[in-house]
């Protein structure tokens, strides 16, 4: 820009010089008219030079103007970004003389610029679209990573070099990756918490199995707990083509609870079988003794024992059946107005022989008031028998069990109080869980771990009552059952739950 101004200024000086030379030539020619001599000739010459110079200057200025115009157009072309603008600026040629040599180069330049601008626009569009796709892919990947991270099942994946390429949060916690959030690229061999898992991943990769395989594994978690997992391993292979294996993904499902349930179930079947075997053994032994017995009194005595053992078996089967009905969700409840004391007396009669056999004093302290309840007699009887026999079972010989009934506000209550082994605070909660038996007291008596949960279910779920327990280790326990008092005597209620 500065050079251009300087050039213009210089050109202006030249123009003034030529004009001054022309004027000087005219002045000398005027003087020469009066004195025709050398001055005349010099004046004419200078005038001619001035005129010629003026013409040259004028021509140069015209050329400069055109150059400036071309520059302007070139600059406009330089600023072209889009083909549309290039087309709009197609009047460049109009400003040039028809015979200007710039027409050809300018046309080519315009064509090149136009096509470049068009390409630029296309690539700009493609870039924008790619950017959008890229953003979407990043967000999809982030979402996928979030989903994988939040899946509660531990997931690990290895590549074809047995390097870990993925381990979600659960896997990191289980396999103690916390110290290094960056799991990618870690060699599989470093995953030393479960050697069997390493072996499975490596083996699945080498064997290139098409179908997923699964296996149950026991793994010690970071907290030192032994947990069971069902691991499903799938080979990662390219979508099309070869038999190559690009890695293996292992999804681990925690089956500790299932295992625990299976174990509990097996224990339950064992204990239920033992419980049934006991009265059966009594029946079988006494049937044989009965066959050998001579006198009528002995035979009567034996028959009574057999009868008692049959009742014992019947009660056990009732308990099992009721639990099965509860599990199946179909429990028929036949509620009728009853006197609670009548049901309790019946329960006492059932448990009395058990208590006598263990030399346990069974006391009853029943309310003199009429304690009306709307209950399924058989169910409440079973609950009361279960609570009483539980007290007898876990009270050492020589102890006592007391049954007490009374009115408590709007409810009627009965308490089963024993001088037995008692319960720890944790066990007072857990004894109502199905199949749970206090470990240290297991040897005291056979049992299925169903009596107390069933009593609680009968009282609370079927009758809207409540079972609670207060206990002290080595001193004894008191189980309290509250039932809503029946306010009026209505017709039989039958409810199917």
């Amino acid at each position: 820009m500065i050079n251009s101004r300087y050039a213009n200024m210089m050109q202006a000086h030249w123009a003034w010089t030529v004009v001054l030379v022309g004027l000087a030539g005219l002045w000398l020619a005027g003087v020469g008219v009066q004195q025709p001599s050398f001055a005349v000739r010099a004046g004419v010459l200078l005038s001619a030079i001035g005129v010629a110079g003026g013409l040259v200057v004028l021509e140069r200025r015209a050329v400069r103007r055109r150059e400036t115009e071309i520059c302007r157009h070139l600059e406009a072309l330089c600023e072209l970004e889009y083909s549309s603008v290039a087309v709009e600026n197609s009047d460049i040629h109009d400003t040039l003389p028809p015979d200007s040599p710039f027409h050809g180069p300018l046309a080519r330049l315009r064509s090149i610029l136009t096509s470049q601008a068009s390409r630029l626009a296309d690539s700009e569009q493609a870039r924008a679209s790619l950017e959008a796709r890229c953003r979407r892919a990043v967000s999809d990947q982030q979402r996928l990573a979030d989903i994988v991270a939040r899946i509660p099942e531990p997931i690990v994946a290895v590549d074809q070099y047995d390097d870990l390429v993925l381990a979600n949060r659960s896997a990191e916690e289980l396999l103690a990756f916390e110290e290094s959030r960056q799991t990618a690229g870690r060699a599989l061999a470093k995953l030393d918490r479960c050697q069997r898992l390493i072996a499975l991943l490596g083996d699945t990769r080498k064997r290139k199995l098409h179908a997923p395989r699964s296996e149950d594994l026991e793994i010690e978690d970071a907290k030192g707990r032994r947990r069971w997992f069902n691991v499903t391993l799938t080979s990662l292979r390219p979508e099309h083509g070869t038999n190559a294996c690009e890695g293996v993904v292992a999804v681990m499902r925690d089956i500790s609870r299932q295992r625990q349930m299976q174990k509990q179930h097996a224990e339950f079947v064992t204990s239920a079988s033992h419980e049934m075997k006991a009265p059966l053994a009594g029946i079988k032994a006494y049937v044989e003794l009965l066959a050998d017995a001579k006198d009528e009194v002995t035979r009567e005595e034996f028959l009574e024992v057999i009868n008692g053992q049959t009742d014992r078996l019947q009660r056990l089967i009732d308990n099992l059946l009721n639990v099965a009905r509860i599990e199946a969700g179909v429990v028929k409840v036949n509620k009728q107005p009853r006197a609670l004391n009548d049901v309790l007396v019946e329960a006492m009669h059932v448990v009395q022989p058990l208590a006598e056999a263990k030399q346990i004093a069974l006391h009853s302290d029943l309310s003199p008031l009429y304690l009306g309840v709307l209950v399924d007699r058989d169910m409440i009887l079973q609950a009361a028998i279960n609570l009483l026999s539980n007290a007898v079972k876990y009270t050492p010989p020589g102890g006592s069990v007391r049954l007490h009934s009374h009115l408590a506000g709007d409810d009627v209550q009965f308490d089963v109080e024993d001088t037995g082994v008692g319960l720890s605070p944790e066990d007072t909660v857990r004894i109502f869980s199905k199949f749970y038996r206090v470990e240290k007291d297991k040897s005291m008596a056979p049992g299925t771990g169903l009596g107390l949960p069933l009593a609680k279910y009968i009282v609370e779920d079927m009758h809207g009552g409540r079972v609670s327990v207060a206990s002290q280790l080595e001193k004894g326990s008191t189980f309290t059952v509250s039932l809503p008092q029946a306010v009026h005597v209505g017709r039989d209620h039958e409810v199917v739950r």
């Binding site: 064992t270 006991a278 009594g282 044989e288 024992v305």
Partner: protein
Amino acid sequence: MSARVLLCDDDIVILKAARFKLASAGLDVECASDGQSGWEVIQRWRPDLLITDCQMPRLNGLELIKRVRSCPEYANLTIFMLTGKDLELSHDELIHLWKVREVLGKPFSPRELLSKVIQALQATGALEPSALPVDALPLVANPAVSSIP
């Protein structure tokens, strides 16, 4: 003097049935309702044969057997195990390690029990062969023949 048999079981019905059968055959029978009281009876009464259940309060059958076998003075005590857990116990361990003579499962036959008791007592010399009760050996199915003397 008759041979002495100690019955150890927490199930009173089983105790009564076995005691009736053994006592009817003329054996001297005592009962204990758990391992601990069984151990006390062993020390006090010195039985010739111990018939014990496995699952019992205070001291279970296996612990009782181990305690008995750890005392040289009771080394010759013949032991039977009468249990509903016969399938879950290692018979080899009971018989070879703890020298249990018989492992009987529940339900059991009082006749078979008596028969095995008599056999064992005679084998160990606690019972004279002449003292063999009518229904003890061989095992018979007809109750009319197996009457108690």
